[in-house]
Amino acid sequence: MSDTTLKPPELSLGEKLWHIHWLFVALLCLTAAVGAAMLYSAAGGSVEPWASRHVVRFAVGLLVLIVVALIDIRLWFRYAYILFALSVVLLAAVEVAGTIGMGARRWIDLGYFTLQPSELVKVAMILALARYFHGASIDDVRRIGFLLVPVALVGAPVALVLRQPDLGTGLMLVMASTALFFAAGVRIWKFVAVGLVALGAMPVAWQFMHEYQKNRVLTFLNPESDPLGAGYHIIQSKIALGSGGMFGKGFLGGTQGHLSFLPEMQTDFIFTMLAEEFGLFGGLALLGLYSLLLIYGFAISMRCRSQFGRLMGIGVTSTFFLYVFINIAMVMGVIPVVGVPLPLISYGGTAMMTLLIGFGLLMSVWVHRDVMIGRRGGDEV
């Protein structure tokens, strides 16, 4: 409509680059460096096979982050639904053409690399929800009917992910979207109601769970019941953590990890290894680093003038938080074993790419913090 006055000036590419939150990026680099060091240790003091590839992937991911950050936030807004639809289609395609690995069908083999659509959908869902709630009034949000559409938006990918089956990603999608719903202004009692219904549905869900998923839950409830079987991971992980003590056994000095008592130490259980080698202080330091990232993430979100940007920032930060929390809680035996990596530290390309794209969006939010987005995506207010 009308090009009116109060709009801030468009930024040039150079200016945008300058506006990227470089301190935040530096914290990301630091975290990834910790990851590389731990992977070096996990390989028994060798950059091969993990640490080197970890660094390369992070470097590539960092470039992607910058590119994503420089793309105009309005473009993300415009294509939010399309990207979401695309990722859901890919998710469905996994059902047909996916590769089976680790007892589940999660990957699409694209020749050079394998694509895990369940990771993409995490970002796409944030985009879609942020767009949906963008410009919604308090009255809108109070209407149950208004909430049916986003619930459906969340439900579709969750259903597909659970079919793979991937309980961890499914839960993460639900929890990330819950955070978004909450940030959009949905009342708490509605979450409580949904939670109660879910609780009631649990016995039903139990029927549909795979044997290994049931085992994981049972094992979580009592890991010592089967010390050599399903509970082995958790027990060994707790032993490693506990034996690390206050200051740890020293870099490369962890016995549990290096003598193969720790399973999957380069991926899901890398925090255990860190805590074994660097003790409580090392663990706290990493948690502090993550907390800084979280605080900056929320600060950036809050600073954004558009509801879309704000919600997107909160969505990305929440997803990041979920990765951190679920992984660390899991290795400490607080929650059941779910295959969630430790962000920027665990070895694995897909999760890192998802996170860096997510952080790219967060940077985009920061760079475009003063850009106004109209109710339907235009410049209109």
């Binding site: 490693a240 953590l241 206050m246 409580l280 938080f321």
Partner: protein, 617 residues
């Protein structure tokens, strides 16, 4: 609010971390060490058992074991096929090997066979290039160089059964052996030594990464026996073919110079493991090869008991040495008739003749006059009726009946007739061959106590160093009475009318004294007696009489005592006395400082052969 919630959750993680890493740190550190450090036991070398001159009777020899490491074999089946062309491998053996491989991780060696002989080892070594994964390992295993010859004293070792575990981790080592009988059992702890240990760091699959520390164990103590190996072997071989036992004692020190029980068994077989059939054959053999009859066999002592009866009477003054008793061939007491072994009777018999010719009627009368309780007291003085405290497992008590004993055991009064029967060493009375040997030793050593032993006191890392002085303690019997007994026993063997005259030792200076005994194992009915007693050799084996002999040598200065019991062997003089003679002769030759005259002048030959074949005693 959202951010706040997350901070709360992060704090929860911090709290959990604090709990695990600080509060519970000690527990988890221990667990981590338990995870990674494996204590490997190093089995100690089992102590040797040597004879009194230091010759090893139980030793350790190299045990070549054939091992297969599945990881190193490209194809386990191919390797086994190749191996099968060198040494035959049965189907069952192959299945067991494959099963063991399946159960263990691929780097764990699996035993294919133990105790390979040198030729097999050589053939396998030569073909090593064609046998990937095959390894020959040398361990130590128990070996008894003289096999059956001292099996009952030495005992044997075998795998630990679950019941025998005591918490000593050594016992849980695969392939560990413990003593199951004899010296191996009674001195098992000392022979075993203590295990060393090696702390090794292992990974989650149990593969050894490195050795952290090593503590060498203490090898087992050496046990020195009182046995004289050469004499022992001679005795064992002399008894071969019979169901018999013999004990040779040094009458002063109580040292058991030889102790054998026949039939014997090969203790080496237990070490390598018996098949079920082999075990059944040994365990169910009616002649009891596993029992050490010398200490666990109970026999009525028969006429060998007559010395005790006579001594009891002489000591109490019940009868004088010269008092005569008339033997008509039988004695009547109430309605019962008690027969002498010589149907026609001996006529007038005094003390010495009673022993020399073993007249039963004389001893019926002596026993009747002495009474059972006084006989029993004398028997106990001479070591009968109670275990002697020999350091071997399974020593029997024997039995010396008294009135009190009968009332208690059978709740019945003692009968006079039973005293008579006891007077000739039959009835309830029971003794082990060891007890008979000790009894004989006390009769001829001047009446001092004797404690038999197969090992002495421990000195340093050796048990049973020989040469520790014994305290001399008189048993309180008049010397003149003992001399009478000794003279009588000398005549039993060396007088033409003696029951063992045919078994005398003709080599000068080696002459022995002794007493024969023939013990009924069944009742002779009146009908049988009327028909004429059947000859022993016409009876089934298990109904034949036991043959006994106790003896000592040399007569002029006694040094050795022997007891021989041949189960169902017939007559004491025909079967047991010749064995006793051979043993005593060999014992003296072994110890004699002077060169042994091989042949003696035929001075005694004139009196040879004047004795009847069958002597009942």
């Amino acid at each position: 609010m959202l951010a706040g919630g997350k901070m709360v959750l992060v704090s929860a993680l911090v709290g959990r971390m604090y709990y695990l890493q600080v509060v519970e740190a000690e527990r988890y550190r221990t667990l981590a060490d338990e995870n990674r450090i494996n204590l490997r036991l190093l089995p100690p070398l089992r102590g040797r058992i040597i004879d009194r001159f230091g010759i090893p009777m139980a030793d350790n020899h190299q045990n070549y074991r054939l091992l297969l490491i599945a990881e190193d074999a490209r194809d386990v089946n191919l390797t086994l096929d190749a191996l099968g062309r060198i040494i035959p491998i049965g189907d069952g053996e192959r299945r067991r090997v494959l099963r063991d491989i399946g159960r263990n991780r691929s780097f764990v060696p699996v035993t294919i066979r133990e105790n390979l002989n040198w030729e097999e080892v050589a053939r396998i070594e030569v073909n090593t290039p064609d046998l990937p994964g095959i390894m020959i390992d040398v361990g130590q295993s128990r070996f008894y160089p003289y096999g059956m010859d001292a099996a009952h004293v030495l005992g044997y070792v075998a795998a630990v059964s679950p019941k025998e575990t005591t918490g000593d981790p050594l016992l849980e080592l695969p392939g560990f052996r413990i003593g199951k009988a004899g010296i191996e059992k009674i001195h098992d702890l000392a022979l075993r030594g203590s295990g060393g240990s090696s702390q090794v760091e292992v990974n989650a699959f149990g593969r050894m990464i490195r050795e952290l520390s090593r503590r060498e164990g203490q090898p087992g103590a050496e046990v020195r026996l009182t046995l004289d190996l050469e004499l022992q072997r001679m005795v064992g071989q002399r008894l071969d073919g019979e169901s018999a036992s013999a004990v040779v004692l040094d009458i002063h020190s109580g040292d058991v110079l030889a102790m054998a029980s026949a039939p014997s068994y090969d203790p080496n077989a237990f070490n390598t493991g018996l098949s079920t059939e082999e075990w059944q054959a040994v365990a169910t053999n009616p002649r009891g090869p596993l029992t050490n009859k010398a200490i666990a066999g109970h026999y009525a002592p028969g006429s060998t008991f007559k010395m005790i009866v006579l001594l009891a009477a002489l000591e109490k003054g019940v009868i004088s040495p010269t008092a005569q008793v008339f033997c008509s061939g039988k004695m009547e007491l109430g309605d019962a008739k008690f027969h002498c072994w010589r149907k026609g009777g001996h006529g007038l018999v005094d003390a010495k003749r009673g022993i020399v010719e073993s007249c039963d009627v004389y001893f019926y009368e002596v026993a009747r006059r002495t009474g059972i309780d006084r006989i029993a007291a004398m028997a106990r003085k001479f070591g009968l009726g109670a275990p002697l405290g020999l350091d071997l497992p399974g020593e029997g008590d024997g039995l010396v009946p008294t009135r009190k004993w009968k009332r208690k055991a059978m709740n019945a009064p003692w009968h006079k007739g039973e005293t008579l029967i006891t007077g000739i060493g039959q009835g309830y009375i029971l003794a082990t061959p060891l007890q008979l040997a000790v009894m004989t030793a006390k009769l001829v050593n001047g009446g001092v106590s004797v404690t038999p032993r197969v090992t002495g006191d421990s000195v340093g890392n050796q048990i049973g160093a020989v040469g520790v002085a014994d305290r001399v303690e008189s048993i309180g019997v008049a010397p003149q009475n003992l001399k009478l007994i000794r003279d009588a026993m000398t005549e039993v063997v060396n007088s033409p009318v003696g029951t063992a005259f045919r078994s005398r030792i003709r080599e000068s200076g080696f002459a022995m004294g002794g007493k024969t005994g023939t013990v009924q194992v069944r009742r002779i009915t009146k009908a049988e007696r009327d028909e004429g007693i059947r000859k022993n050799k016409d009876l089934p084996w298990e109904q034949r009489d036991h043959a006994m002999f106790v003896g000592f040598a040399p007569v002029h200065a006694p040094r050795y005592a022997v007891s021989v019991v041949v189960e169902h062997g017939g007559g004491g003089s025909s079967t047991a006395a010749p064995i006793g003679r051979d043993i005593l002769l060999e014992a003296q030759r072994r110890r004699s400082a002077e060169p042994v005259p091989l042949a003696v002048n035929g001075s005694d030959t004139a009196t040879r052969g004047g004795q009847s074949e069958k002597k009942r005693g």
